[in-house]
């Protein structure tokens, strides 16, 4: 049955509907492209035959193959585009440096797309407010409280807060700190927001 492989690619993504990125299915992609090449060649031959020998009985199969070609193209672009959307989400969740295990799931061209995307985003953010710049990947949640309870996940040394006091961020220590000071460290994985 034609287009089975292309549909399998779509199902693969559909199964992981929480936004996770499965490994790039290089094999699957190649198989679909091969099927498309075969279909196209068969159509070329049939079209020539239909024209030169007036074989109009070939026209339904030509149409069928053409529909399969269009469906394969559509499924492939959907598969690739949906992956791009998941990769885009990674920039907003993990920041501009992706963890190695995530990079492993991506093909070279996807890594290239990601690199270009984060560059465009950085240029855009820098240009906000007439060149002042604003990091809109921060402040993802409305500020609820001034101070939050945080636990230190790794040693980070001394940390100065606004009123001059210095805190020693030792692994497993817990502190009650101003929220805005901690946001960056929480994202980096140094601190953990403790919610009682």
């Amino acid at each position: 049955m034609f287009c089975e492989k292309a549909l399998e690619l779509i199902r693969e993504l559909h199964r992981m509907n929480d936004g996770q990125l499965p490994t790039f299915n290089e094999d699957g992609l190649r198989q679909v492209l091969q099927e498309m090449e075969a279909l196209y060649e068969q159509n070329q031959n049939d079209v020539n035959e239909a024209k030169s020998e007036g074989r109009t009985d070939l026209i339904p199969s030509i149409k069928l193959r053409h529909c399969c070609l269009l469906r394969n193209q559509r499924c492939l672009t959907a598969y690739l585009y949906d992956r791009l959307l998941r990769i885009r989400a990674l920039r907003w969740e993990y920041g501009s440096v992706l963890p190695a295990n995530v990079r492993f799931q991506m093909c070279a061209e996807e890594l290239q797309w990601f690199s270009q995307y984060k560059k465009s985003l950085a240029i855009f953010m820098r240009s906000l407010g007439g060149g002042e710049g604003l990091d809109i990947t921060q402040d993802m949640k409305p500020p609820k409280s001034l101070y939050i309870e945080v636990r230190c996940l790794k040693d980070h040394g001394e940390f100065e807060i606004d009123d001059g006091t210095v805190i020693l961020l030792k692994k497993n220590s817990q502190h009650f700190l101003p929220r805005w000071k901690c946001e960056q460290l929480i994202r980096q994985g140094v601190l953990e927001h403790v919610m009682s």
């Binding site: 992609l29 498309m36 492939l76 672009t77 585009y81 240029i123 407010g129 809109i136």
Partner: protein, 222 residues
């Protein structure tokens, strides 16, 4: 909001034609933010508001540095700054998400609007949108399209990427009274359905019907 924190004197007057108090500016930001959040399509660019708010934030930060350390007022002002920055970031994120989601249509709308119509995208957003378009197209070409049969090597983005659903329903509050708003046009089966929108009333309506009222400021999406 304490006025002392906004006390930066004359600079504000030079920025806009009609002078806005800080409170009015923030109110405008919040209106733009809510409208953008709840509208299914990208709304007009409000770069003047964005720039003014960013200047305001810079002034507030500078004023905050001058406040005596440990003063209780400092934390309240800090909270205010964080709140405003959150609203501004959220507004810009909303816009960026829609630009990415509908990129061929957004670019098409901007290209085909007349000179007399206000800009849909700020210059920076326009550059971002074009880069996003180019990046995505060259990616698809490199990874798959160029390996496809000759007649299938392009994808029409305008057809492939879905358009925003303008028929989705939105909640709104009426700011200026409107008369004879056409909700359903006349068809063979029904008479035309027309309503008047009273000031202060709230409704749930199809976005398409009231889209022009959002851009004119006559209604506020909530």
């Amino acid at each position: 909001m304490s006025d002392t924190l906004f006390d930066d004197g004359s600079e504000q007057d030079d920025i806009q034609e009609d002078v806005m108090t800080p409170a009015e500016l923030i109110a405008k930001l919040e209106e733009a933010w809510l409208n953008e959040k709840f509208s299914p399509e990208l709304l007009e660019s409000r770069s003047e508001v964005v720039e003014c708010v960013m200047e305001q934030l810079t002034h507030m930060e500078a004023n905050l540095q001058r406040v005596k350390k440990g003063d209780a007022k400092a934390s309240v002002h800090r909270m205010e700054i964080d709140r405003i920055r959150f609203v501004l970031s959220s507004y810009l994120r909303s816009r960026l998400q829609k630009i990415e989601k509908f990129f061929p249509h957004v670019l098409e709308r901007e290209k085909s609007r007349g000179d007399s119509y206000p800009s849909l995208l700020s210059p920076e957003e326009f550059a971002f949108a074009k880069e996003y378009h180019a990046n995505t197209e060259s990616y698809l070409k490199a990874v798959a399209l160029k390996r496809m049969p000759p007649n299938l090597q392009t994808v029409d983005m305008l057809k492939a990427v879905p358009e925003p659903c303008l028929d989705s329903f939105v909640f709104l509050r009426v700011k200026e009274r409107q008369e004879n708003i056409l909700v359903e046009p006349e068809t063979d089966d029904q008479r035309e359905y027309v309503v008047d929108l009273e000031e202060g009333s709230q409704h749930l309506m199809r976005y398409r019907t009231i889209a022009p009222l959002v851009s004119s400021g006559a209604v506020q999406l909530i």
